[in-house]
Symmetry: C2
Subunit: 412 residues, 2 copies
């Protein structure tokens, strides 16, 4: 038995290696299927939004200069030339002393440069409007191109599309867009003790958990999980499933093989493929040290620990950024994409210097103060992740963090 | 024209009214389709997880008492009775002075109460193991039922399922579960100025944005958006589309009608349905005041402002919690489901007392300090939501918040 890790690298180096893989190609998606997809092209505005100066309020379009000095006690009077329908574009320029009734969203006539809210006016007779307030030029007006100017990049390639981005696309008339293909992520569990969820385990057997948690986490990262099932700790089966996945998927995640013999088998099998390279054999994080990164052809293969909690941590720290990157997300490795919440640490944490620790914590509101309570526990148990609201990272040089210190909790 | 709101209520009251609508019924979903779904039943464990005491490490199962006093300088020696395969359950009890080779995940034999990591041992000859450390009972062992005990509620009804929950379901053999149906959410945009995304707007027209942003936000809240298209500001069309939606959907969202005449039309039409009730006509938030809540039969109808930013804010503050609640989520109205990040306010904010303001902010890291910079702007523009990382709420009694104060940013 060989207990050593030959190529243990730092998490920073691990992420650098992940970034070298190429993102997926593009495909055309319909607007209403674009939420969460990543643009594979810059979307350039062909029009100004708004296309015309538009009113933000129900009221009267006017020339701001005509209201100067107006107040509740000293109102002014304008001549109402017409009430315009919301979709009406009035060509007749507004003259001095004139105003036009306008609805929210309506277009301003030439000559008008502001809108007064209806609440600050009074209609007198047929066509006189009392104006009890001074307005300034631009008041209650959305200006041409204030949202986006024609020929500007409205949304850049690499952007993962949020609801408000989809709204902008709609405004600009993009009914489709070129987006990165969702990476197909093959998922394999290895381990002679594993049975599928549908089986009743015999004593000594357990049901396969990692396939399902990793599939969910892959989906959350924008990938399409391809469940390739359970593989016994046996060379031919492993060769077959890896070949199949590398033929059809963009990336392969193999969990299991945390027991030493099996880990070695996975490495051996990966090395047996033509144009393959073991990029990392161990990474200095805990839990998650026995993680493997390999390249076969131009595709990444990530070997995750079999322990259920370790596998989830490795997926969060490396797997999800890799999938986001393969899916074209420009922010895949941006630490800013993690939501961090400051909290007071509720108990002392110790760490082995030289490795990055990820401690599961529960967030508790103690009298208005947010406290991160560590949920220590064996990484083969599901419980710590079930109870956890987030993770606290102890950086490699630290020997620990004392209770009472403020920590940044990575909210899950 | 009628400028008044007859039934302006507080946001707290609005949420109470939303909570009175009944959640959807249940359906059976397959395990791999359960991510993000909400349980409609308690899942009760039929087995202990783990089912047997299992090892967390590669090493040797032993009786902890046999190692007391062992150290690097004073090792002890145990007799290796066998190396067990990972899925092997050894029935022969471990005697005093004996140990058994065990892999991570392997089951402990009777009599063993701890595991020593292989790193702290040395194999001597055929079947003697040198043990250079004292272990305590339970060390490196996952105990029977430590994750879940048989007959316990493993996951309660009302829980929205996360990856780790799906993992627990897999461990327990739940290949399906009864979950709430995703609420079908009819979405209608009204406004004579609106054209579909596929059209080139004439001057005075704009493309419909709200259908698309609201559909995305509905999807994020676990609902199925049903796009019911554009409706002109005209009674018969509105009656037809509302009837259709109420026949087929669980809830209807109508945006538009921020101009006064149209708002009144929506109210009139809703009141014309049998067994209908206008529950709110205006809510004291900004933006978003002209929001309508009605009940038609047992279904909620939410009327959102037409302004694109106002519509998104109303959707975030009321629409998403309503959809989560209809979808059975026990935490739908729990303020804890919003991610709040403390930040220093970057500019003075003023507010009209008596209404709850939602100010869009961008989060900027200024020399290690998180600063929330307000993005003030007209609520008819898309820009402020495009630029925003989150929202700052100014509670109703406040007249403002001074720059430099710490605020809780609701991260979007």
């Amino acid at each position: 038995m060989d207990h050593g890790f030959f190529r243990v690298i730092t998490p920073a180096r691990f992420l650098e290696l992940l970034a070298e893989f190429a993102p997926t190609s593009g495909e055309v998606a319909a607007l209403d299927g674009c939420l969460g997809r990543v643009l594979a092209e810059d979307l350039v505005a062909e029009e100004n939004i708004p296309a015309l100066d538009r009113s933000c309020m129900d009221g009267y379009a006017l020339r701001a200069a005509d209201t100067f000095g107006n107040s509740e006690g000293n109102p002014g009077y304008l001549q109402l030339v017409q009430n315009a329908a919301i979709d009406e574009v009035v060509a007749r320029p507004l003259g001095v002393g004139e105003c036009m009734g306008i609805a929210t969203g309506g277009s301003l006539p030439p000559g008008a440069d502001a809108v007064i809210m209806v609440e600050h006016t009074q209609i007198l007779g047929e066509n006189t409007v009392e104006v009890r307030k001074t307005v300034v030029p631009g008041e209650n007006v959305m200006l041409v191109g204030e949202d986006v100017a024609a020929n500007d990049v409205a949304l850049p390639a690499g952007r993962r599309l949020r609801p408000q981005d989809i709204g902008l696309m709609a405004a600009l008339g993009f009914n489709t867009a070129r987006v990165h293909c969702r990476p197909r992520c093959g998922i394999v569990s290895t381990g002679d003790e594993l049975v599928p969820v549908t089986d009743k385990p015999r004593p000594g057997q357990v049901r396969d958990v990692n396939t399902h948690t990793l599939a969910c986490l892959a989906r959350q990262a924008g990938a399409i999980p391809v469940l390739r099932g359970l593989v016994p700790d046996q060379r031919e089966s492993l060769v077959r499933v890896i070949s199949e996945s590398l033929d059809q998927d963009d990336v392969l995640f193999i969990s299991g093989g945390s027991s030493i013999g099996v880990r070695d088998l996975t490495i051996d099998v990966l090395e047996s493929f033509a144009d393959s390279e073991i990029l990392a054999h161990g990474v200095s994080i805990s839990p998650g040290k026995p993680t493997i990164l390999a390249r076969v052809g131009d595709k990444p293969v990530l070997g995750l620990p079999g322990q259920v909690t370790s596998a989830q941590i490795v997926m969060l720290v490396f797997g999800q950024p890799l999938l986001a990157h393969l899916g074209g997300d420009a922010r895949a490795f941006d630490p800013g994409r993690r939501t961090l919440r400051p909290a007071r640490l509720g108990a002392n944490l110790s760490s082995k210097p030289g490795r990055e620790d990820y401690v599961r914590v529960r967030l508790e509101d103690l009298g208005g103060e947010l406290v991160a309570m560590p949920r220590l526990g064996k990484s083969g148990l599901l419980r710590t992740m079930l109870d956890a609201d987030g993770l606290v990272r102890l950086d490699a040089p630290l020997e620990g963090i004392a209770a009472g210190q403020t920590v940044a909790v990575w909210v899950l």
